[in-house]
Symmetry: C2
Subunit: 961 residues, 2 copies
Amino acid sequence: MTMLSKMITLKYFQQSCNQGEADKLNVHIVPHTHDDVGWLKTVDQYYYGANSSIAWAGVQYILDTVVQQLSVDPTRRFIYVEVAFFSRWWREQNTEVQQEVKRLVQEGTRGSKTSCRLEFILGGWSMNDEAATHYNAIIDQMTLGLRFLNDTFGPCARPRVAWQIDPFGHSREQASLFAQMGFDGLFFGRLDYQDKETREMKLKMEEIWRGSQSLHHPEADLFTGCFYAVLTQLWLYGNLKVACVINTCVFLMKIKHTKSHTQRVNENGYNPPAGFCFDAYCKDDPIMDDPTLEDNNVKQKVDDFISAAHKQAKHFRTNHIMMTMGSDFQYSNAKAWFKNLDKLMKYVNSAVRYKNCFFLWSVKSDDFFPYADAPHQFWTGYFTSRPGLKGYVRESNKYLQVCNQLETVAHLRSGMKSNLRTSKSNVLRAAMGVAQHHDAVSGTSKQHVANDYAKHKLKSGGRHCKDVISSVITEGSSNLTFCDYMNITLCDFTQNSNRFTAVVYNPLARAVSKYIRIPVDCTPSYIFVVIELLVPVSEATESVRRNRGNANCELVFLAKLPALGYNSFSSSATNKRLFTPKGKVVNPSDDITISNEFYSVNFNRNSGLMDSIVNIESGIKIPVHQDMLWYNGSMGNNASKQQSGAYIFRPNSSTPFHCSNDGKVKLSVLTGSNPLVQEVYQKFSDWAYQVVRLYKGIKHIEVEWTVGPIPVKDQWGKEVISRYETNIDSNGYFYTDANGREVLERKKNYRPTWKLNQTEPVAGNYYPVNSRIYIRDAHVQLTVLTDRSQGGSSLSSGALELMVHRRLLGEDSKGVAEPLNETGQFGDGLITRGKHWLLLDTVTSSAKQHRLLGEEAFMSPLVMFGGATPPALVQQSFIVNPLPPNIHLLTLATTNSGELLVRLEHQFAKHDDDVLSQPVTVSLKGLIKNFEVKIVDELLLGGNALKNTINRLQWQSSERI
Amino acid sequence: MTMLSKMITLKYFQQSCNQGEADKLNVHIVPHTHDDVGWLKTVDQYYYGANSSIAWAGVQYILDTVVQQLSVDPTRRFIYVEVAFFSRWWREQNTEVQQEVKRLVQEGTRGSKTSCRLEFILGGWSMNDEAATHYNAIIDQMTLGLRFLNDTFGPCARPRVAWQIDPFGHSREQASLFAQMGFDGLFFGRLDYQDKETREMKLKMEEIWRGSQSLHHPEADLFTGCFYAVLTQLWLYGNLKVACVINTCVFLMKIKHTKSHTQRVNENGYNPPAGFCFDAYCKDDPIMDDPTLEDNNVKQKVDDFISAAHKQAKHFRTNHIMMTMGSDFQYSNAKAWFKNLDKLMKYVNSAVRYKNCFFLWSVKSDDFFPYADAPHQFWTGYFTSRPGLKGYVRESNKYLQVCNQLETVAHLRSGMKSNLRTSKSNVLRAAMGVAQHHDAVSGTSKQHVANDYAKHKLKSGGRHCKDVISSVITEGSSNLTFCDYMNITLCDFTQNSNRFTAVVYNPLARAVSKYIRIPVDCTPSYIFVVIELLVPVSEATESVRRNRGNANCELVFLAKLPALGYNSFSSSATNKRLFTPKGKVVNPSDDITISNEFYSVNFNRNSGLMDSIVNIESGIKIPVHQDMLWYNGSMGNNASKQQSGAYIFRPNSSTPFHCSNDGKVKLSVLTGSNPLVQEVYQKFSDWAYQVVRLYKGIKHIEVEWTVGPIPVKDQWGKEVISRYETNIDSNGYFYTDANGREVLERKKNYRPTWKLNQTEPVAGNYYPVNSRIYIRDAHVQLTVLTDRSQGGSSLSSGALELMVHRRLLGEDSKGVAEPLNETGQFGDGLITRGKHWLLLDTVTSSAKQHRLLGEEAFMSPLVMFGGATPPALVQQSFIVNPLPPNIHLLTLATTNSGELLVRLEHQFAKHDDDVLSQPVTVSLKGLIKNFEVKIVDELLLGGNALKNTINRLQWQSSERI
């Protein structure tokens, strides 16, 4: 040990392509902070350091003091991640400080040998969740952060390394997106404990992650390292210096794990080694180097550090190791950290002869879900936690896209001279950025923080965007009214109007026809100009409305909508109705079947449950038994004390209970023939309803579920699922999307890259479902699309299930320290309503349908209301040439500097469909009205750099050898 | 309120003599930190921020970050107090930082209009305790700090304001010393709650404190303000700007108290107003000024602050108020404080029309003891807490003085060319500086901190000083041995020597004869060259030695010692003894009387207690009944939950218990006639002993008490006292010294300046005794001198008592969070031994005796040992002309820069003695050998400035009008 202690070099991460000293152990010190944009406190409280009875954390001081500490010593380094915080802090600084920060960022341009003194890593608006986020929102939030950095600091500041150190599992789509954003590498902290052990043994803690099955290699390949931790310690990873690397000098390294005799704690590995946490809120002793002191601990600290470095180095093949010196909200008093790091480096000053580099990497093609940090501790509850918030985030995404689109329309209309440009949409853009955070849309914040996300941030952003939308559509002539609660048949405007106009905007770049439902009185004094129907509100709706609305009917009509445009539907006065309310709900006396041109759905009159589905075109007819059930959330048992909570799903038993007390569902139906829709009503209990619908001309089955208030007076936490049982021979395989984009194959009790010891037969098979889940056999595929992120699984052959709502009384001890018990505004429990869309078809023809339906569901029409007079232009499309169906207009927005930012996405995966998966050519010319292309630059996915200026690091994979 | 809110000016304390804006309320913001040099953690742990499971507090970061924050904004101000911390931090800084700090201190020299950006207040090594400290040590510790500031920053840095914000009661002597050190004002936080209320009502929160009854006014007058606090809030005081004032512009103000309806909490008033604690470890919300925020609290904060300022201003007569923004160990992340203070000042920006100045002050001549912060909560326990530590501090003071003297001798011998100068003594000087802290010698730190003070700091300092002493006396020829446990007859060197030399050094500047007692074997093979006696060790000594020593006898002889010099006493080999052991302890059969030329003391054979004393010369014979008793420390009762603890003395009953179980004391006596000493041995119990001695030629009675381990198996905490009961008609009056210097009159259940509502008949009458306590009537005075600081009182006419030891099981909830339960190195409880010296004489002749005896006791001879051969010079005096008895050589030391620092003190108070209280002339010429006076400068008491360069502020007192 004495010899070793003389051969260590300790330095801040520094030289981009310096291989370090070949015969020494190079320890790279990476000072960092991890700043959640909301969790136990709101993002604002974290920024300011308010509400400190919960935690003192104040990000403003982190940036204040870090910048100061970097300024006084040019050898110091720091990385920063979350632009939501940074940009806010930046705005508050005077020019002098801003100039200093620019200097810190730019001292270390890539031509020079040193890295940036202040280096941005990841650079997203937040460190987004990977399970409950949609790729559209991920791209937007990354773009917001990355472009801020580019606009403020220029290309040198472009983050080269993605840094997802805290999210609870990792999506392959995220890796693909990062690759397309130009990142060279990705590092994270949380992966399944068994997976980690296997990787440690097999030297696969670092790999090439192949993020896409559709993109050509290495377009979606990403070097990926997972953190390593024993106790509060052990290693971390190879080398952060890639962040400022430009050439192909590669010396990241593999890790070898030596079994430790200490109890392994699979906690987050981004902390410093034990005893070396020098934050102002840490308990470790500082370095006390006064030579006259009894307490002088220099020798002890040096010995401990060398020992820790030595232990860590054993797990690496090269002579470089990194230590991440920092943790959650640390560095609020940066002096404390830096002063002791400086001393540490002063006193540890030589190095260890060590092995040389190793350049070949294995390849991974699946993802890191589900995440368990110990037996019985599967982080699969948050896939569904706070379904109301998850739904609101999804809905807000649509508002943001529409806002982007119409702001661009306005910008073009003004001859690109508009000064306002993005000022209105920025509010929602930032709110959505924050909402993607891994404690926001994930549903894992405290209740007051969730309220802040929804009621302050998203709501305020939505308000601004509604102004934009209304103003652009009416060309400033009037205000349109938005009804946020149409899903529960609440809209003061339409309920109380004698006559009105519905303006329906279609954000897709292709024309669609969609059924619209508007809350109205059942005996209106007007008729619409389209074929319409009045459907009485259901018992479920009455239950969820709680006497807040007096609309007794929904006006239903089919809206034909132009691509990227709107149509308006006005009422005419009448004293005679073409279609009086035909719907009447009665109990069925026989089995009930509803059908349209495409599907026929049968319900059993005894059980009240869906029984079978017929696809009329393909002739497929299979039993489909659907039920609503609930798992009892565990409060801990002998096997483990783990409780079900905001993060963790842990049912007390693998067998769920029926939502219907007697196992029998009250069934009713919309009687009488009508030309538009057939509906079946199911009441499982006072707190669980469904409506199953078949619309004329629509090729899917709509299932609208209404769940809540989940009763907990029995002291049993409940996690409610919708389960489908069929005779499809799926044999344990099922398929879930990744962030709404590509699809991954799942298999029950199986992980593709390691041998699973399953401790939770239900929770351990749950995966995130952002948009769709399906099962199939050789012929038939049952696909369920969702309107928000949910957890889902297939626990037996032919079955699939989705968790729609959960309410728990225990707490899962993962930090949030509150039971996930949403009591809602009435105090008795939150009611949530959502939709599933069912497709039953052949395997080969399913993708085409779920891709297009998924797009339509995700970007469904926006309905607004005006007076009896429609807008000046009754109908308008802002696009010259609608896009082909396989191309999704992902982004049409204006940048702060006035250019148009357009993202066109081929939305079919490689083998989805013989026709639609083919490449397609789209002309940008004439894409948008009032728009003439002068220059087109192809950018990285994040929009922050020209694609052709970027050379990502090339990784040598073992596969190629 | 709205109008008011527009008329407030808020600024950092700033302009020295700016009267502010006459028609506005000027709120002076004083950012400060209060840094205990040891309390819950050791001084080193506080400095570094170690041991943070107790508290994170790290002073290094306070100074680091405050300096940085001051640097970046020239409008910011900060005050700093404790030089023990500052000087240490200073040494660690590089030249660049040191230059920056100099700039911060000097920007604001007194010619300019702004005060120092970094201003030193108090400037002592520590903020010393005022009850348990000796004035010699106070002066030394202040000198150490003040001279550091002067040496480092020059005269501008001289603190003008003393800042005793935390000590638990305040001594008049301290005020006198401060005045003599050139301070203009003093501010503190803790005074009796009733006193404070009275002062608030009578507008006497600020007064002229007349610190001395002997010095001419205004030499010891000091402007004194006490802090005001309601809840965590209310006012604070007038104006700190005196700190950088030089001329006589005076605008400190009186305070008027309006009764508040809120519950008054008499806590320390140096905190910020409620809601405005912006420290990194405070819970108050910061100022959140983002205009887009839901949480924006600017309006609320501004309103709250204006309201607080307005409330506070009501209690002041002028338009200036101060707010002390800071508290214990705050500003470790100075950015947090300053950032929010800057914002606060930005947002509160106009002022209130207010009244003009008021210039007349009332005068106070007593002190602020005892301190109670609420009924039943008298901070009088710490007068005695940790008697072992208190004794060690007193002993260490002597070592430091001797060290100073002999370092000076060496310096002079070397022709003032010595390079070492004070380097050796600096260690003990600093240790003693720290030991004066108000949680150090006070006995109110945690046990591990008390251990650090004693076992690390003082012990290490003592070791260095012993080197100096040994080296100077032997002129480097040999090493002398020091025995630290001679008081319990332990000294390996003498116990195991066949022959040795005792070198006895007298630190007084006049010759003395003192009896010396040396642990030896009872049958030595040598004789001394003086009249000697062998006394067998007592049972008490056996008890306290616990088998650690094998000396069976004490060798007693009278050492005649030259002024400021030593004599050595060598043994000669012999096989015949002149004085074989004559002492033999037997039980008395009759009442026992011992006597010498001056006193006769009688003991009752039945009770075993002292019974009467005769002063043979004066013919006074009175009954003196002495006993050892103990109060049971309260664990709280119905009247109050207050427990007795390190700070608080609260007996469960006013009637103490006898230390002797059966009320009978085992009495024995040293039999046989001998020419030197008569001794009576009293055993009160297994843990309480006394020896009463009369030495030939010595005019006082010595009472050596040995107490411990105090038994607590009965779960009763015990506070042990020695009580004297006489027939002196003292009628409730008694007299105690202030820090060992002047004497104050006390009266039972009475306070000179306010009407007392007494809640604790015993504890509420306790006062600090540093050196002496006496009672008297028209003729007779009984004086008891102590060897360390203790609490004392007179609870009935003719009685006086001193608390000598205490051991408690409860905790007094004043912050230290440990019971005062010293278990000692054997784990069963600490044994403490000490001495009381009794004088019984006429009132008129008592002062002469207790002044001289006090001086001799305080600076008793230092005994060292060498081999059989004495030093080259057997005897030597370093002084040419001994000083007259009324002049005490308080300091003879060498400064860091090589000058001699001499303090000569007239040690008699104005009316002490007809002869000795007269002024006396001393020639400095030839005061010390090898010393020729070239230039003499008269300095302030702290030695940090020429006296004639200083014009203290002149205060107008109401008495003069």
